[in-house]
């Protein structure tokens, strides 16, 4: 038996979401059906609110509800150090460390020849013009430690170094609290490579 049209429509919309399969979409739709009108309204408002209120920062391309974002417009944060990440979610992850006091630049992905993603598909030209404007002394490349992130890091280093800024790469190594014997050999090799004097 087919679902009545309004329910089928909701299931259809929900199943477009990442990681949501048809079974999960059905469960979610039935959950929505059992909500009070106020609760359903609040959920719908939240969805529309994200669409109306969230945008990309015109300076760093992170997600924000004000433009420029709270980080870019905070005078207490140093504009001399830029941390380059692939995704807006990486900014949130790094902010949770409470260690970094500089600003960010979100590329919107990483160079991936196999997926046809090249430098022009990323916010690389915008990064270069931020650095050219002056005031930046160090660019920390915090792209993901996988092939695409490494390729992006090499490419950025090649473009940025001639501009006279220090270009650094975040360290790769073992998870804190882990055991050496459980690490994979590739991570271990990288950890050895990135060793420091004590």
């Amino acid at each position: 038996m087919d679902y009545p049209v309004p329910l089928a429509r909701l299931i259809d919309e929900l199943s477009k979401m990442p990681t949501v399969g048809p079974k999960t979409a059905q469960r979610m739709a039935f959950y929505v059906m059992r909500l009070t009108t106020e609760e359903a309204q609040s959920l719908a408002d939240a969805i529309l609110g994200v669409k109306a209120g969230m945008r990309y920062c015109s300076v760093c391309f992170g997600i924000t509800d004000t433009d420029p974002c709270a980080i870019c417009s905070n005078p207490a944060r140093s504009g001399a150090v830029l941390c380059v990440v692939e995704d807006p979610r990486d900014v949130i992850a790094l902010e949770r460390t409470r260690e970094f006091r500089g600003r960010y630049h979100v590329l919107g992905g990483a160079i991936s020849p196999l997926d046809g993603v090249g430098p022009d598909d990323l916010k690389i030209a915008e990064l270069l013009s931020r650095v050219r404007e002056g005031g930046v002394t160090e660019v920390i490349v915090a792209t993901n430690p996988r092939v695409e992130g490494e390729a992006t890091a090499f490419y950025l280093a090649r473009l940025l170094k001639p501009l006279g800024v220090r270009v650094t790469r975040i360290a790769h190594g073992l998870p804190v609290g882990g055991d050496l014997e459980y690490a994979d050999e590739v991570t271990l090799a990288r950890a050895l490579e990135g060793r420091r004097d004590l």
């Binding site: 990681t19 160079i111 991936s112 020849p113 196999l114 997926d115 046809g116 993603v117 090249g118 430098p119 022009d120 996988r146 092939v147 490494e150 390729a151 090499f154 490419y155 090649r158 473009l159 998870p175 882990g178 459980y182 690490a183 994979d184 050999e185 590739v186 991570t187 090799a189």
Partner: protein, 246 residues
């Protein structure tokens, strides 16, 4: 549902669900396979680092209802040198993409596996013609060997300046190329290199040092020909070109 062991090379991977990865590999005895690596994106996973392209590995695979699941991955060669600079990363990406596009799932191709192994070793050694050699040999081994000495239109030998036609099957006399309006001129130097690459052993590729103009014209011909044969567009060559313009 059973278990099987593979020796394979990672061609590409993409995300699946919250924390898993779909990994496309070329295995020695079972051909191209798409496998699930459960939890590979979690930072503490031991799978993620071991299944980066172009790692060569041994593993145990469990047959699943729709997709087979890879486990107990043992790295045979992480090919760290191929990830150590932008040029090698680019050439490696082109080689991996061609292997992926040329092969259908689950058709054993031990000769292509051997070819890929040799090509990665040559790329690691910084040999400039490794990628072109791989492309030429891959086409030959998968039944798309282009003609390089006898004109497919008239059957006579081709000498000196000629044309190249993807539809006619390779190198043709300039005068015979009228059947294909998209035929392009093929320089004698490019034809000579291509003729050599189609049957070369890896040891011979190591000694090749052609002019970069010859290399890039052979690359243009081979990639175009491969795209015509496989009815697809290669994505990586354009990205690699964009990366080299700095």
């Amino acid at each position: 549902m059973g278990l099987y062991k593979i020796e394979a090379i990672v061609l590409r991977r993409r995300n699946l669900g919250e924390a898993d990865r779909l990994v496309t590999v070329l295995s020695r005895s079972r051909g191209k396979l798409v496998l699930v690596a459960r939890g590979a994106r979690r930072p503490r996973s031991r799978l993620g680092g071991r299944l980066e392209p172009p790692t060569r590995f041994r593993a145990l695979v469990a047959e699943g209802r729709t997709l087979d699941v890879v486990s107990q991955v043992e790295v045979l060669d992480a090919h760290a040198v191929l990830r150590s600079d932008l040029e090698r990363m680019g050439s490696t990406a082109v080689v991996l993409e061609m292997a992926d596009r040329a092969l259908a799932d689950r058709h054993p191709h031990p000769d292509v596996y051997g070819l890929l192994r040799d090509a990665l070793a040559l790329l690691g050694g910084g040999h400039e013609c490794a990628g072109l050699w791989f492309a030429a040999r891959l086409l030959a081994l998968t039944g798309h060997r282009p003609t390089v000495s006898r004109c497919p239109a008239c059957g006579q030998r081709v000498r000196g300046a000629a044309s190249w036609s993807n539809v006619l099957g390779g190198c043709v006399h300039a005068t015979c190329s009228s059947a294909d309006p998209r035929a392009v001129p093929a320089a004698p130097g490019a034809m000579a290199l291509l003729r050599f690459l189609l049957d070369a052993q890896p040891s011979a590729v190591r000694r090749l040092v052609p002019a970069s103009s010859v290399r890039s014209s052979v690359a243009g011909l081979l990639f175009g020909y491969a795209e015509a044969c496989w009815e697809t567009r290669l994505r990586s060559p354009a990205v690699v070109r964009a990366l080299s313009v700095v």
